[in-house]
Symmetry: C2
Subunit: 121 residues, 2 copies
């Protein structure tokens, strides 16, 4: 075969058809970024995540967790107890990605006093 | 004064009122991420950026560049020639942030074969 299959090509986020573009969108989504950062500190329940992430709605947090779980970044564990107890953790892959996301967020926080309108001329 | 001004507080992206949250949203926006990555390779004109970033519309690219310029990540230079010639570069601050964004995107590209639905049980 003279042409490689799409999945054999080198991943490239600049190519809109590459699946890496979609995965990048998920981990850089408005709430995905913050979920990854909070889960870096360890296991959390839904309510605890929601408390930590200022401004997130129940619906958006649930949707974000579902997408990150489908990608394999987050692991959801339902403990067989009454009442139900569900925990969220990073997977090993999620940990690797979360470190990069955290580095970016820390960089923004550290340089916040340099961010803002630049002077003309 | 017993209470520090808002801008004197430690920046925290988890706080929805902190300006670092907004700056983080800008650099992790769907197109912001990709603009920063492409500009890491050097100066680009609008048309060149648009060619490199698969799927971006003229309108969204213009809007993204404007936001990144306002934050001080991107510098826009209009050369005094006919016809008009406008160039885009990263500022020193933009370079620092773009490195982190690039590291995240590379991490996703490198691990693409591990990303996807996880097996149950």
């Amino acid at each position: 075969m003279s042409q490689a299959l799409s999945t054999d090509r080198v991943p490239d986020v600049l190519n809109e058809k590459c699946p890496s573009r979609q995965a990048l969108n998920h981990v850089t989504s408005r709430w995905g970024v913050l979920v990854l950062i909070v889960l870096q500190s360890g296991t959390h329940r839904f309510s605890s995540l929601r408390r930590r992430i200022g401004g997130v709605s129940e619906r958006m947090l649930a949707q974000t967790l579902r997408v990150l779980e489908e990608d394999g970044f987050v692991q959801r564990t339902a403990l067989p107890v009454v009442p139900p107890h569900v925990e969220y953790d990073l997977t090993p892959l999620g940990q690797v990605v979360a470190e990069k996301v955290h580095a970016l967020a820390s960089c923004i926080e550290r340089n916040l006093d340099r961010i803002g309108p630049v002077q003309d001329g």
